[in-house]
Amino acid sequence: MHAWLISDSPASRLQASAGRFYRAGGLLLRNPLAVAGVLIIGLLIVTAIFAPWIAPESPVGQNLSNRLLPPSADHWMGTDELGRDIFSRVIYGSRITLMIVALVAVISAPLGLVIGAISGYFGGWTDRVLMGLTDVFLSMPKLIMALAFVAALGPGIENAIIAIAITAWPAYARIARAETLTFRNAEFVSATRLLGASHLRIIFAHVLPLCTSSMIVRVTLDMAGIILTAAGLGFLGLGAQPPLPEWGAMISRGRVFILDQWWVATMPGLAIILVSLGFCFLGDGLRDVLDPKSAGKS
């Protein structure tokens, strides 16, 4: 298996790409911070999938006789003002965080990729107009723009996701354009064009796949920012609505009790920090592996 994976003359496309993943994975696992990142993200995904089995109690079931209990063996993270087990809510909250992160990535990365690739491939006025638009969005503060969009769309988790995606795509468009420019005049593109391939086919089948590795790095590095923005919107009451156990919204509920019952606001924050740090570590590690030029620099 090992020999098949690292073979210098792969017999099939599958073997070549499997080999590439294998080597990149091997490099990644030699970086301690990246390993920590992989473990944290793995933990997040496992927690999200198996939430009902991990959480000791229901995330929404109220029990007013257990209000605001401090952390103990029964309630690892204490209970909130409605007697709900905070640990269970944090566990279920991982589903919401994962969903937000995944949806934002699924919406904004392809959007940015396509806009950037079209812009770089065609050049000229197409490029100028699309990049002008991108630059305007890039020069805006992201959080403020997301806030204004949610204010107009109305609060709610779907609208928060849309607003964050709207602020996230321009960075990807910039990267995709820069990558496309380096391939545009490459011989394999000219060869494909001579074979009669349409512009769309060249962009989607030949240019875009080459942009993916730098895109993966960038998206991973952006994840922390996306999580923080989503939590911020939740904190302001513009994101996920109660009783959904979204971490930012939970901190917002605990705000009133911060001076006496510190655990209500503190615990969900620790979850946010852990997951964001995980994405930062993983993103840094991936960049070192996939983009060796900047390896070693923070």
């Binding site: 305007v136 020069s139 923080l228 911020g232 920090i273």
Partner: protein
């Protein structure tokens, strides 16, 4: 420079031309910003009239409001009248305060400026030496600690840090003042000249007001400063590593120059220019970060104004604040861009 055949007047002309191009780009960016706020205000809401009059309005009231808001006109006409209004400093009237939004913003802006300025000073004074130190000892324990600390700046929610900071340093240890800008007792004692409370109280010679204000600003400003520290330290480290791997550094070391001189005398020179851009970007970023911090600390600045307006569904105020923060953000970005060009000998 001695090989440069340019006569000064030609260089000046080129500089003027690049400045002209810069002005056009900046103007277009501002127009883009206006287009975004216009879009958010008029196109995104399903019914902007309903957002203003509420859902209990009669048909007649609705129709009057619609015409008063100019929504019966074509979108492009509406856009240009919006741009015209903004250029004249008219951002509409705030529903919640009843005053013109522009007037409100002028009143609240100094509070944010004061906090962000102290924040950036903390970020620069601590962040740059930390970045240099980490780069000089790359791979060591202290480097790892600084790296993780910098990454924490990307992973800790500002509002959470604010709450925990209040619980620990205000309620627990009593080292700093609570939320708000000044004790009620001292409120209004100082005549606002600059709007910056610390400066005004010093000008007025009221030391106890200064001390009280300082007591309250230090925690939110330090938390803001931590975020700029993280960014500045990370970038400084990366720039410094770049320089330290250059051959001239090796040459200097071979000549026997001390490590301190290599770092501060040789390698630090070239990174000053990119650092200015980083500091500018970070300063602009603090304006954004202040939205969350101000909400937590009830700080009467632009961020708090924005979130209060959000809760009251006061769309004019939301868009006005968004516009001003966006404009300042763009302006700082562009100015640091120009500074970079002016200061970097290679781009002259």
């Amino acid at each position: 420079m001695s090989f440069n055949p340019d006569v000064p007047s030609m260089r000046l002309a080129r500089f003027a031309r690049s400045l002209g191009g810069f002005a056009v780009v900046t103007a277009l960016t501002f127009l883009g910003l206006l287009a975004i706020t216009f879009f958010i205000g008029r196109v995104v809401p399903i019914d902007p009239v309903l957002a203003v009059v509420g859902d209990r309005a009669t048909n007649a009231q609705y129709e009057t409001a619609r015409i008063a808001m100019g929504l019966d006109r074509p979108l492009i006409v509406q856009f240009f009248s919006y741009v015209g209004d903004v250029l004249q400093g008219d951002l509409g009237t705030s529903v919640s305060t009843g005053r013109p939004v522009a007037q409100d913003l002028v009143r609240v802006f100094p509070a944010t400026l004061e906090m962000a300025t102290i924040g950036i000073i903390i970020g620069v004074v601590l962040g740059v030496p930390m970045g240099v130190y980490a780069a000089a000892r790359a791979g060591s324990w202290s480097d790892q600690v600084i790296r993780v600390l910098a990454l924490l700046g990307y992973s800790v929610p500002a509002f959470w840090l604010g709450l925990v900071g209040l619980a620990v340093f205000y309620a627990g240890l009593g080292w700093v003042g609570g939320p708000g800008r000044i004790d009620v007792f001292y409120d209004g004692l100082v005549e606002p000249v600059t709007g910056l409370l610390l400066v005004d109280s010093l000008l007025d010679g009221q030391m106890d007001v200064f001390r009280n204000a300082f007591h309250r600003i230090i925690l939110p400003a330090t938390i803001l400063g931590f975020f700029s520290l993280a960014y500045i330290a990370r970038m400084t480290r990366s720039f410094m590593l770049d320089q330290l791997s250059q051959e001239y550094v090796t040459t200097a070391r071979v000549k026997g120059v001390s490590e301190t001189r290599v770092i501060w005398g040789h390698a630090f020179g070239p990174i000053r220019v990119p650092l200015i851009t980083v500091i500018g970007l970070s300063y602009a970023g603090l304006l954004e970060g202040s939205v969350m911090i101000e909400t937590v600390f009830s700080w009467p600045g632009i961020g708090n104004y924005l979130t209060t307006a959000l809760f009251n569904a006061d769309m004019n105020a939301v868009l006005g604040a968004t516009l001003v923060i966006g404009a300042v953000f763009i302006l700082i970005n562009k100015v640091s861009d120009v500074l970079y060009r002016v200061l970097d000998p290679r781009s002259r």
